[in-house]
Symmetry: D2
Subunit: 379 residues, 4 copies
């Protein structure tokens, strides 16, 4: 017989991802947000509710940190089996998480967990020694991590959390990781010269990327309590869309007028004044990050889809340190996506995320003295 | 508006896996059996029906040969979205297949496809230039290809077709592949000295591994028409369980008495008379394969979980050629599973299957002059 | 009994590297210049003469395209065994080549081959289907391809031709390759702002990088006859030192005054006027290359030690094509050297050259339809 | 001005490889034997003397553990520059070692070091934390680690110490390693059924593989003092030639009569009595190793050229432990050489040695808690 638990009544429930405060139902606002339990049952089910229209909501489940399922939800209520027919009394570590990023243009989309059902007990879940916060764009939202190379539509099914470098770092370093990411957004401007598509603008909200009445009612736009989860490191993977903006046409943006990052159309040399705007935005974002996270190591990573702005990023990091005396920031180049590692929609594939995770894992291993170990044969 | 098609009314439907004859509903008897369509719709759904008790039935779906979903079915009827929100008019190649092997000890288990629903059309699906038939045991049934290394239960969720070397060869070489495989079975004896657990005994049936009234009613135990699908190569991956039997205690097997493959318990040297039984069974199986498949190249592969019997296998291949004058047989050693590549339940993990697929792919490439190409970043 | 041949009397001698005309002794002016024979003897020796002072001259030998020896020469005459105790009558393909680049600041250095000694015959050496010319800096001169990571002196022993991507391409694609390269030099300026250290200035000489009375007497400064060896592709790997110049102090250069590539010292953003000078120099060099090599494919490769100037290079290639209508030029990004692949003196190590060769090999394979195949276990 | 030192007068000289006692000249009897110094000079030379006839003597040199040269010696006296033009006062770690194995059939061959010349001082060389002794055959003698895949002669130039897994382990684990190895020999019989070609017979001599008046005068056949260098682990890589003997014709061996390891010529199944001889020889060798090395971990590794006898080896290890109660022995499978990793003469190439070193390094890392780290880009 399975016993039914309201999600807020589940003993020892571990919540992944930013929320305003624990509540029932529990919102999963963005990519990689989810729940984790240690369950002794022979069987475990999760009950969720979601809505969507064009872009469907996908979820994934892991048992003992190995991926078991990945599937699309149906609109409305869904019951999903997390495991069954297992030996009762033994502890199974189970995660259930959102694959789809927060969708800033789709107020109709939401996903919430209502309860769990099992024939066993919920034992305490270990506190991880390290916490890492990831801030990024479509790369961090796993766009392209599923799908064939020739697939070029912009679809939810090509995005994931399960196959991102964030999840790999989390698994391989036995850490807790959160992601704040949005495809197309930058540190100063979106890829299409949309000036309002910059992550710093929403960083201090619970999830400023999840609009709509359902999400807002669950607290997505509320100020975020930075003391509730103090990251040991913040990994910023922004700049790719800022660089794209130099190559795209001007865009009329409400409140910002006609926006365009300029370059010399003959030589391709970028306009130094516009580069300077990114430089300044980076320094301002570093100051904001430090204000909200006084003790965290801040690491800017870059390069998985070209590195045109590497000089601007490293320059801004130096200048920020000079201005503030803050030495707890660093830069790490990530390997570029190649013909071998590209996924769908010209984005990093699974292999590219794996290559990036190894480089980043090595850095974090040395910084925090915790090993990065790949799970054997089933990545 | 979606139009509903009975599965036998779907134009240009391609069926994967052995069946007695096309019928509605369409049975998916064993691992990797499934359907394939080229669909122009913006949306496509599959309707299936299954039953199970202890061991659950899992399925997977691919779009343009990239894995999109993998999930457990619910007992009874299920409707699964294969894709949606895609550009209508463009062709999407879609596959839906069974992850779980035929379950020879579970007569209650079955899976059948009843229909498809779409707003588009079904265009012809390409005939592949090459057809490969795989014959094997738990390795070929993908046991261990999902799940963490420390997972040691015997569960359906750890088995797959999606992450096997069979599926990799099929994708990378643009071929059609079928599997006839059963965990624990051998060419002469099962891993536990069960003499009746040998694949040759069931090879000439449609699917002699799928018992039960539902499966039998759909033709599983009928003689198989070998002319319906002529493989260019037959890849036999057997011997691993025959070798295990030397290390396991004697077993009373109905119709066979007390069965035991003997070895010198001090030196570990195997009894030559018992080795000879395997040798003879291999030659007999080679003769059966050739009788049923006069034109196919027969390739015995071995080594993914040790290769204790390599000498016996290569010896049998030589002796078979000498006796029959048949030169169209060969042996290929596959790399052993290592601590790096092992999956769950001490079986080959995803990485081990990938390593094996590369070696086998290279062999088949040279044999048939067709390239083995890994899909870029999303394996 | 060995028979002694003056180098100009060796039947079927193949000469690698630019020379004014075949002569005895035969000068080996720059990196990878050498000789090749197909010899049927049981034994073969080469006699050479060299001089040097601070920087020693190194050579290497290959048998059937596998590296056998690499050693420092003694000043004066040296006799070196290329092979012995081999089966007479069988053909051995043997190469002997210079490891050390031409040394533009060391007029005392020279190396020349005087003769060969063998008990066999010299059979014809195959003409290769493709010829590739490489133009580069310290990367192409193999600096760092020998030596430990912590070695930071500037020494001849850390430079090679044997472990460069040039040699790898030559071997793996069965082509003939030549190198014109000089550490520290650029397309517009040297790494230290020395404006005269640009390869275009010396490109039309036999070897404008090899000064001194011995080299000049052997024709190093003579105009080069471009019709004598028509490359199918010219691979230009320049730009790395031009980028460095932005980070180094101003330099007084005779004939050029005080030279300095400027950047904003706060933001690190490069001065667009100075970037334009490199842009113009690239276009001018492309025009010179095309004038001298009307039929060659011109490929600019870049990125093994950072790619700050990638935009300038791709911009110049576009503008060149626009101005001239010449579409037979292309750009290829090479992977950056990483902590894993770096060699001595902060330069690309053997592994970095191998990674680059695979990327470049793939490009050339597709361009010229000739496979890139690594020699099995002994690279 | 260089100062000349007799080899026994060199302060802080470290000697690699077995010798009877330090003496001048210093013999280098077998593969990987050599000298190591930490020298502060700007320049260092080594003086050696050797003789040979058909098989030439090769040596190699490393600076700071990176290979710099590899070359054939001339018969008689040779002076070889180990480095020059380096910054005086800084310490350079330099090794000079023999590439060629001891040659048991060539009494005319010897190699000895007579002295060093430098303008600097010799500082102490670090004691390594761990010492490993390797016992093997042609694999451990590096046969095939140089040379092209198509090269099939049996020549000194294809053998090395520089590219073996022994040298890799030594470098990557910062250990001291010694090799006792001979191509074609086994633990019970040589590859051609020569019963006297077994390593156990010579194990307790200084170098029972180096005959001839010169070697004997320098103590090669003297009893070896096992207390002079106590290995932390003994790695035995034998069995490959014992397995070959089953496939080769009978051989008349003086003192042993007609020798032949038998197998069933039809089935290929090996004769259990002959397998038992190997089994017994292994147990006897383990007992001898333990008697001479009471504290060493004994590790039998196997598999780089097939693993037909794996069961016999693991059986013998079990039986030895049962008989003696000695639990300080273990077995480790090494990866088989593949088409990708094979070198010349059908032997493991450089890549195969690298693959083996990684597996063995991982084992030793865990056993002794010392990291295995590959030197960056220059292996």
């Amino acid at each position: 017989m399975l016993k039914e638990y309201d999600i807020m009544q589940v003993p020892n429930l571990k919540i992944h991802g930013r929320i305003e405060k624990p509540s029932s139902p529990l919102p999963l606002f963005g990519t990689h947000s989810g729940i984790e339990v240690n369950c002794t049952g022979s069987e475990l089910w999760v009950d969720v509710e979601c809505e969507y229209d064009f872009h469907d909501v996908w979820v994934a489940g892991e048992v003992n940190r190995a991926l078991m399922f990945r599937q699309m939800l149906m609109p409305g209520k869904n019951s999903i089996c997390l495991f069954r027919s297992m030996i009762p009394g033994q502890v199974k570590n189970v995660r259930f998480y959102r694959e789809l990023q927060a969708m800033s243009d789709n107020p109709e989309i939401f996903l919430k967990v209502t309860g769990l059902r099992t024939d066993g007990e919920f034992l305490p879940v270990s506190e991880k020694k390290y916490k890492f916060e990831f801030i990024g764009d479509s790369i961090t939202s796993g766009e392209g991590s599923y799908g064939a190379r020739e697939d070029t539509e912009w679809l939810a099914m090509y995005m994931s959390s399960s196959r991102t470098y964030v999840n790999m770092i989390e698994r391989m370093m036995d850490a807790d990781c959160r992601s704040i990411s949005q495809g197309g957004w930058g540190v100063y401007t979106g890829w299409d010269n949309n000036r309002s598509h910059n992550i710093p603008r929403v960083y201090d909200r619970v999830c400023g990327l999840a609009p709509g009445p359902e999400n807002e009612a669950m607290g997505s736009f509320k100020p975020y309590d930075f003391s509730s989860w103090v990251p040991d490191a913040i990994i910023v993977n922004l700049g790719t869309n800022d660089a794209s903006a130099f190559n795209l046409p001007a865009l009329e943006v409400p409140g910002h007028g006609l926006c365009k990052m300029r370059k010399d159309e003959t030589t391709g040399i970028r306009n130094p004044e516009d580069e300077k705007k990114i430089f300044d935005a980076e320094i301002a974002f570093l100051k904001l990050l430090r204000q909200k996270n006084p003790t965290s190591h801040i690491l800017w990573v870059y390069g998985m889809l070209g590195n045109d702005l590497e000089g601007v990023i490293t320059g801004a990091l130096s200048e920020y340190s000079k201005q503030t005396g803050d030495g707890n920031v660093a830069y790490l180049a990530l390997p570029d996506t190649t013909e071998e590692t590209v996924g769908s929609h010209s984005h990093p594939g699974y292999k590219s995320h794996l290559v990036a995770a190894r480089v980043l894992g090595k850095y974090l291993s040395e910084k925090f003295n915790v090993p990065y170990r790949e799970k054997q044969g089933n990545l």
